[in-house]
Symmetry: C2
Subunit: 162 residues, 2 copies
DNA sequence: TTTATAAGTCAGTATTATTGACATATATTA
DNA sequence: TAATATATGTCAATAATACTGACTTATAAA
């Protein structure tokens, strides 16, 4: 598919390779999100709820503005979704100790349960793909994905970049 | 991040690795689609139009039902989008020769122009990520992405699988 | 001739998202 | 302290995407 110039590490990037890259992203993401959406639609929630549940689960105590940055949506858009999740007991809000204007978000037990339900299929899907592809391939996957995202998002993945 | 068991090709898949995989997909896809969406919103079109333009551009003469399969949406959802694109002269429809019930789709010159505008940034983004990551990483990226998508989507990428 | 398929349409509804305009509480700065 | 900025929330109006269900038309296949 993608060939190395003999004796170098350069790539010949044909149009076809780039087209394929676009489609790899489209189909992988489509199938990656499909099942979670199905589960949620049975609970009157949508993909937006999934994302909120997911990120609050991963970063307990995160602020609303932090969540807005991650999701790249407006606070009015987040508002309805967050309100539902708080009202129905999936998410807790508590004022920040350092800055009492903040409303720090955490999952309740009920929220954690839903988070597990939603991400377990995605984790299994990633695990299967990783195992099948092998460790070197996973490292390549990481490199390319980091290259595709914006610089501003990349820092999240740099913890142990010794 | 992901480590090989010494002497084997197996992976230790920690929860943290799987969580990271989920986020790599989320952030890469978010940033990959953001600019195209911005361009389109200036023309009263949205991401759905983008996808239609893209796939019709890549597979000229594709049928409506084929497009529906790819997009995984209902024909009622596609209908509005397709109608707009046909009415405004971006896409041509012509009856199939073998099966005259079909309405085969192709881009007009105007459609091709928009397709170029929309995908050029995505191609550039992929090209930069590929170049930076190197040929081996790209091969790993392909393997993992193919593993993430459904079996039914994988055949698209198997042309030269000798 | 009956049945199935490809495509399209009409109606109703839900979800996600936007912009704009304000309001409240708290923090920071002059 | 007073003025300003920030974090969050809310109201209202609107748009885009998507769904289900019920039909219709044309053509193909059994």
């Amino acid at each position: 598919m993608v060939e190395t110039k003999p004796g170098t590490n350069l790539l010949f990037l044909r149009d076809e390779d780039l087209r394929q890259g676009i489609e790899l992203l489209f189909f992988a993401y489509r199938d990656f999100t499909a099942e979670g959406d199905t589960i949620l639609s049975k609970q009157k929630f949508g993909r937006a709820h999934h994302r909120v549940i997911y990120f609050v689960g991963q970063y307990p105590g995160m602020s609303v503005s932090n969540l807005l940055d991650i999701l790249s949506i407006t606070k009015q858009s987040l508002s309805r979704v967050l309100r539902q999740l708080v009202d129905e007991g999936y998410i807790d809000q508590q004022p920040g100790t350092r800055d009492r204007r903040q409303r720090l978000l955490t999952l309740t037990a009920k929220g954690k349960e839903l988070e597990q339900l939603l991400t377990s299929e995605q984790r299994a899907r990633i695990a299967a793909a990783y195992k099948n592809a092998g460790a070197d391939a996973v490292e390549g996957f990481r490199k390319v994905m980091l290259g595709i995202m914006e610089d501003s998002a990349r820092h999240r993945f740099n913890e142990d970049k010794t």
